[in-house]
Symmetry: C2
Subunit: 473 residues, 2 copies
Amino acid sequence: MTVDLTNVFHEIDADYENLKELLREAVAIQSVSGDPSKRDETIRMVHWMKDKLEKIGVSCELAALGNQTLEGKTVPLPPVLLGTLGTDTSKKTLLVYGHLDVQPAAKSDGWDTEPFELVEKDGKLFGRGSSDDKGPVLCWLHAIKAAQKNNIELPVNIKFCFEAMEESGSVGLPELLVREKNRFLAGVDFVCISDSYWLGTKKPCLTYGLRGICSFFVEVTGIKQDLHSGVFGGVIHEPLQDLMYVMSQLTTVDNRIRIPGLYEQVAPLSAAEEKTYDEIEFDVAEFRDSVGASHLPTEDKKTLLLRRWREPSLAFHGIEGAFYGPGEKTVIPSKVIGKFSIRIVPDMDPDQVNKMTIDYLNKVWKERGSPNVFKPRPGHSAKPWVVDVNDSNFMAGARAMKRVHNVEPDRIREGCSIPITLTFQELTGKSVLLLPLGAADDMAHSQNEKNNKWNYVEGVKTLLAYIMELGSA
Amino acid sequence: MTVDLTNVFHEIDADYENLKELLREAVAIQSVSGDPSKRDETIRMVHWMKDKLEKIGVSCELAALGNQTLEGKTVPLPPVLLGTLGTDTSKKTLLVYGHLDVQPAAKSDGWDTEPFELVEKDGKLFGRGSSDDKGPVLCWLHAIKAAQKNNIELPVNIKFCFEAMEESGSVGLPELLVREKNRFLAGVDFVCISDSYWLGTKKPCLTYGLRGICSFFVEVTGIKQDLHSGVFGGVIHEPLQDLMYVMSQLTTVDNRIRIPGLYEQVAPLSAAEEKTYDEIEFDVAEFRDSVGASHLPTEDKKTLLLRRWREPSLAFHGIEGAFYGPGEKTVIPSKVIGKFSIRIVPDMDPDQVNKMTIDYLNKVWKERGSPNVFKPRPGHSAKPWVVDVNDSNFMAGARAMKRVHNVEPDRIREGCSIPITLTFQELTGKSVLLLPLGAADDMAHSQNEKNNKWNYVEGVKTLLAYIMELGSA
Ligand SMILES: [Zn+2]
Ligand SMILES: [Zn+2]
Ligand SMILES: [Zn+2]
Ligand SMILES: [Zn+2]
């Protein structure tokens, strides 16, 4: 009993100007969650969305999260918008997550247009939040509107969880979800998140895995205050010298991790899974050019994708406590803290990774033989996430994409973490689908963020098709 | 024809309250040259000193240096105070240099008392500038006053060059001195600077050498913008990883320099010079405790002093372009610049040191085999300075110290640079004496700067004795 959506899809195409106007309004609200001076706007964005949802019959509530101290000021946290559309106990229930806040943006950062004014150019809709994540959130709204206009009955109840602190660490949300486990989250059968990207710019995909992370701080001290390098240079063991040595021992020049046993923790790659990598469309040269590198540690497609998604990686972020300004300063810093992190994958366990890493650092330190004081410690960590690509939620997403794009979507992973994914999975005990709508070059978090007109419109169709497919999931 | 100074010395002791009042007034003027909001006070300090010099018969002029742009504001540079006392062509001429500006200070930095209020406690005079360099400057004034009161004819003409931008790089002074080479600087026979410190707290010393410096920037790039470590971690050559490796190859754990041939440039140590090191009073354990280290690369007195004063040393200062704040940030920086400097000694030549260092960095880079872009380059450099400890100026200083302290002063070097020393030497062609009056624990540039009451009073006597000794130099 598949409902024919041909006519509805045509209507969605025809309704483009309304769809665009909706995004223009949303982009104009400067909901930068990381900027305390824009907290009012961030809260206004939640109310704006609540109004839109109520207009299509969603019953909404605002879950208060209290206050937060930001840059020395106490500011209210934006509430979480919880919505319910349909309470038919004979139907299954889909939970949709999205976020209404955005990254900071200013024309002076190097934008070609005003970041908070939606500008259409060459089939692209430029504006902060157009792709991350206001565009996808509005696709849900519009998909439901289109169904209602055509008197198409939705085969599932839908719950909405829209927050406005995602770009600032989702402060308060995990605790709220834990409190809502047996109320708002009760009875949820499927979860869907549209807040990631296609692997390229043309072919749709579904995301079935995310890497976790283990962060580290490596502190070296040994002198009681910063010293003048003229007076003391040559007769002390410099903490920064020790730190750079230790950090240099963590990886090879090709960015392979030297911590013994780490790669052995990775789940074995089956022949079937390996075969999926052969089928993925991915242009290595295009990727290399997009990062501006002359050469990559590997330029073999399969190896490169495996290293991004399915293997741990170690990245260096910086050093706290040393001179960081431009120009020269002839001081010997007394206490320095190196920062690096390891992305982890199944079956790696954060606790075990932390232990192996600290053990290795201590071993390197012992060999170094410096009399300075060495204090390595783990920072925050998050588990990796991977889902069964054959479960009913995932298959509904795949069928929806095929209906809209006429092509079987790639099954991909992401190298980064979206911690809330695992929270939803653990609290509902159900499958979470990451259903990306935007293209790889949307420049989320960067200058000139855009959403392609085509992706935006097809996104509405995809979400509608997905909702309909869940009826037979 | 040595003039007996016994009675004058007693008078100086008896005149302590006036001496202290003078320092109190000077410390109260907040002549922080690095703070544009205190530029008026810095200029006022020059006028205050001009007034004091004129009262003892010095004919003064203020050499204008124009304007300066500081923190985006255009502010006037404080003028340089040039004074002349005596123009007797049958006498030789001494040029005295000192500075009237100070480092910033605030009680909230951790001072026990208000930094710009002179406080006497336990024989110590606490206050910003009490030791660096207002105290020594006032010792000159008071020494001449004492001679005048006792109708003692000074055996030399004295010229004064007091600037108020020393703590901010002596902006404009070298150019002024070049312009004044054949006028104000003409006819100078001796130069004396009291702006350094004793090696310890009890025994006086004379400084006959300063190290020079060569600064370096090591830039590594290779990706066109900062990247998300989740998305790109593991498949790029990280610039920071390369930089830390290269920096780690510059020194051994004991801070010895690994650049081939560098130590061979150092002037050979004669048996006679080596012997002077045996005679110097220096407590290694006290030094080690003062820096707060558990262990030093060498704890042999002679080796340690040689490494501080007579050997090159390499110090690491920091990294520009990487994450430096507290907490975590999971970004891969795209362009990082490492900063280090090498202190140099006779007979090292800055150009040659620059070449050897850049060559070594390039060699390490080549061995590394990274496809990133590597750009090492030299920063500012200054030549080392060393003077003949047997010249007449130096010997006059030694005799003066012996007259006051009844002990032969140690002959020491400093590990840092005082670039103006070399400027005076080159422009006058005459000997420059560094005659320190303060103790090693005076905490110049730090919290709770002080001048010991004893050092301050004996400083007046030492400078008077030195002026008198120049009569037979
Ligand atoms: Zn997002
Ligand atoms: Zn985002
Ligand atoms: Zn000074
Ligand atoms: Zn100073």
